[in-house]
């Protein structure tokens, strides 16, 4: 499990605004960050220089010792962590990239990963004309985002439970029309928090496995097993409609597994990186399974899932947007525009409460959706690095 987020390390960290960079062509395309090296041994932590210009600085940390080591960049109080790299195995190098405001810092290595570290030394980021800084206290905003997201997840799972009960009841009763009408709308609650649901080991395969993902001899349960029964038109020749007993078994397990999911998400808390990576993960789901029409092989209700994933990613993004505006306003502007463009394409496919079936989309419409998923995905994948300091 990921470690708890140490919000203390964010307090008062000076964050360099990227907006001083405007859209003209660099005369020299070469990289312009300052590059330093750090050699960590059992007893020393040799940094190649004790000062560098404020701005982007890259420390390439090489572990020349025999134990796993860490490198820390600490604020002038010697306590607050401004940047760190961990888990550097013997003989390996890893880069730490930081944007430093002008000021005093300390560097230190921690071979063996215990104790106070070795060879603590002063380090100075010297003032330059090119950097503009914004001081932001973001810890409170992060706490708010975390609390809001936990309640969103809880709410979506509650609705999933309610919807699943109604769906299962109709399915068991043989009221296939009602079951079909509830299928996609109920699954949207799942899709909105899909990356969370997936984090609980075998619940995801029990609830959401596609037939194509089955191993030889594996039991097929969950939504898609029922989907095939409800939309048998495209099933292989010889596909047998399920017996009443099998219907009942599948429905009971669906309800039971969903209840387990509900239990698991109670009291769950989230770190900032879990939120940002959750948004990234949800869009990845769209790119790999939904925009290709693979998720809903029988019902073709992929756009409901698509919208659910996008809803979830947008909620996660909205939760951290105010922080992002402080740290990287350009990225926020870009994400605002790309989310809006994707939603516009989805809105164009709305029919009543639902969407066009995937099989009714034209190749050009699918292509437009895929292009826009790429357009959103590239900036979205920078969200974690832009926020998690």
């Amino acid at each position: 499990m990921p470690r708890a987020f140490r919000s203390a390390s964010l307090l008062g960290v000076a964050i360099v605004g990227a907006s001083v960079l405007s859209g003209c062509v660099a005369n020299d395309p070469a990289a312009t960050h300052a590059a330093l090296t750090v050699e960590s041994t059992e007893t020393s932590c040799a940094v190649s220089a004790n000062e560098a210009p404020a701005g982007n600085i890259r420390f390439t940390v090489t572990n020349s010792g025999e134990q796993v080591t860490e490198f820390y960049l600490l604020a002038d109080d010697g306590l607050r962590i401004v940047g760190e790299v961990e888990n550097i195995g013997p003989g390996l190098s890893r880069d730490l990239v930081v944007q430093l405001d002008a000021g005093s810092y300390f560097t230190a290595c921690k071979p063996g990963m215990t104790g106070d570290g070795v060879d603590r030394a002063e380090f100075t980021a010297t003032k330059t004309d090119a950097t503009a800084t914004v001081d932001v206290d973001v810890a409170a905003q992060i706490d708010t985002a975390n609390i809001n997201y936990a309640s969103y997840v809880s709410d979506q799972i509650d609705q999933l439970v309610t919807g699943t009960d109604a769906f299962a009841a109709a399915y068991v009763a043989g009221d296939d029309d009602t079951a079909r009408s509830l299928y996609a709308a109920t699954r949207m609650h799942w899709e909105r928090v899909e990356t969370i649901a997936e984090s609980f080991g075998d619940l995801d395969p029990k609830l959401d496995l596609r037939e194509a993902d089955l191993e030889e001899g594996q039991d097929w349960t969950g939504w898609h097993a029922i989907e095939k029964n409800l939309w048998p038109a495209e099933a292989e020749a010889g596909f047998q409609a399920y017996s009443a007993e099998k219907r009942s078994t599948l429905a009971d397990q669906l309800i039971g597994d969903t209840a387990t999911l509900d239990d698991n998400v109670q009291g769950l808390t989230f770190t900032l990186s879990q939120q940002t990576n959750g948004a990234i993960g949800l869009l990845d789901e769209v790119a790999t399974g939904k925009v290709t029409g693979e998720e809903e092989a029988w019902s073709h209700t992929d756009l409901w899932d698509f919208q659910g994933n996008v809803d979830g990613a947008k909620v996660l993004y909205d939760g951290v947007r105010s922080i992002l505006q402080e740290t990287d306003a350009d990225l926020a502007t870009s994400l605002d525009a790309e989310f809006a463009a994707l939603q516009k394409l989805l809105d164009a496919q709305r029919i009543g409460d639902g969407f066009t079936l995937y099989t009714d989309l034209t190749p050009a419409e699918i292509r437009a959706l895929a292009d826009q998923v790429n357009a959103l995905g590239e900036p979205l994948n920078h969200l974690t690095a832009a926020l998690v300091l």
């Binding site: 660099a26 890259r58 390439t60």
Partner: protein
């Protein structure tokens, strides 16, 4: 079912903040004081340095062609062995400013890759641990291998087929930049034809060429998207007298009479658009014609040698014209054999394509062989990806019309893709490809 990715798994919440995104915006943070001992200027993934340090396997591996210059590289540059060609459509809603920014970003990235560097501030492996790498990384450890990246603008960039001037550049559209006419026998697939923009990436290493197109496509996401692309594995033309003449998939030497870099007068006359031709922004540029030519090689392979040589008008071994001599002998189209039949037949490819039959018109050919798997009938999906550069598209049109009507080779080939692009002059250092069009 979806890929199972635990949220936050593997992410340590304390490493770095993001670099500025948007490549053209890089490089503006001054580095006053960078001379302090122990600080280097960060240059990520400089493969030239690595290639120089290593013993070069051959000159083709270590070749470096500068991106910036009077003309774009990849035209008279000695034809490299490998190609990845890509056509893009600008995405709906992209503004003029965004198009310019895309061209700027492409320019910066193309210059870096041509110089053997990773793209971006931190390259493939030196960036923030919690950010996706800027460079995709598969060219690490590879030499530049003579990489050139050549950009072109299609007719639809200036005006859509519906006549919409999306970027305020319709008035800059060259009069000659209109879709090529239908030629007899054309069997064009819209999905392999045309495009708003094109990029030709050539290298002596296939992975270096693919790396270029892959990264430029990634940079374009949201602004332009791939329309079609083509890999070529073997050059079919020589553009320098220092190069041996390669063979096409029919087994014949191809491009013997091609324009060569060592003929500057011919290049000037036939390849570069002079200022007097107009429009002004295209001066020093050229026109690129791309044709995907499918070969029915199974039929060809069971054709008797006499027929094969008669179709080309050259010997299959040495490549000499059937009128005699060696590969580089001028064909004698009048020399007759028995029954007064010319040794080089009326429908022979070398006759119909020869400048003497086309009012002196020459093309700078830069095509590549391709095999894209096989079709449903078990035939190799093979052929020639024809590329030519010329001062005016009319040069290609007149030659191709002649060929399409009469060429004996037509029995064995089918044109299945077609595109025309205006190729701007080279970018000056500090400027970007096509800047004059947007000035």
């Amino acid at each position: 079912m979806t890929r199972s990715v635990e949220p936050g798994a593997g992410v340590e919440p304390a490493t770095a903040v993001s670099p500025a995104h948007g490549l053209s915006r890089r490089g503006l943070l001054g580095l006053a004081g960078a001379s302090v001992a122990g600080i280097g200027l960060g240059v990520a993934g400089d493969r030239v340095a690595l290639a120089v340090a290593a013993t070069p396997e051959s000159a083709s591996a270590s070749a470096v062609y500068p991106f910036y210059g009077e003309h774009q590289a990849g035209i008279v540059t000695p034809a490299q062995d490998r190609l990845h060609f890509a056509a893009f459509d600008v995405s709906a809603g992209t503004t003029r400013a965004e198009l310019i920014e895309l061209l700027q970003d492409w320019t910066v990235a193309a210059a870096a890759m041509s110089a053997g560097q990773d793209i971006g501030e931190y390259g493939a492996v030196s960036g923030p641990y919690d950010a996706p790498p800027e460079d995709t990384g598969e060219a690490q450890g590879l030499p530049t291998a003579g990489l050139t990246i050549t950009f072109g603008f299609g007719p639809t960039l200036f005006e859509t087929v519906d006549g919409v001037d999306r970027f305020g550049i319709a008035s800059g559209r060259p009069a000659d930049l209109t879709p090529l006419p239908h030629f007899p026998g054309d069997d064009l697939d819209a999905g392999r034809s045309d495009g708003d923009l094109c990029i030709q990436a050539c290298s002596n290493d296939p992975q270096v060429a693919v790396h270029a197109i892959r990264n430029l496509s990634r940079i374009a996401f949201g602004r332009a998207a791939l329309r079609w692309s083509q890999l070529g594995f073997g050059r079919t033309s020589s553009t320098s007298t220092a190069q041996a003449t390669p063979r096409n998939l029919f087994g014949f030497k191809d491009g013997t009479a091609n324009i060569k870099a060592e003929e500057p007068d011919v290049v000037t006359e036939q390849v570069w658009v002079p200022a007097t031709d107009g429009p002004p922004w295209l001066a020093g540029g050229s026109y690129l014609v791309a044709r995907r030519i499918r070969m029915t090689i199974e039929t060809w392979d069971r054709t008797i040698l006499r027929e094969q040589e008669a179709v080309f008008g050259r010997t299959k071994g040495a490549g000499a014209p059937l009128s005699g001599g060696t590969e580089f002998s001028e064909p004698d189209f009048t020399l007759a054999g028995r029954e007064d039949e010319p040794l080089i037949g009326a429908a022979a490819h070398v006759r119909l394509a020869h400048p003497a039959q086309n009012d002196g018109t020459k093309l700078l050919r830069r095509g590549y062989n391709f095999v894209d798997g096989n079709d449903d009938l078990g035939r190799l999906e093979a052929g020639l990806f024809f590329i030519s550069f010329q001062r005016s598209p009319a040069q290609f049109t007149s030659v191709q019309l002649n060929l399409a009507k009469h060429d004996a080779l037509n029995e064995y080939i089918r044109h299945v893709g077609s595109a025309l692009f205006a190729v701007p002059a080279g970018a000056r250092t500090g400027s970007y490809i096509g800047a004059a069009l947007f000035a």
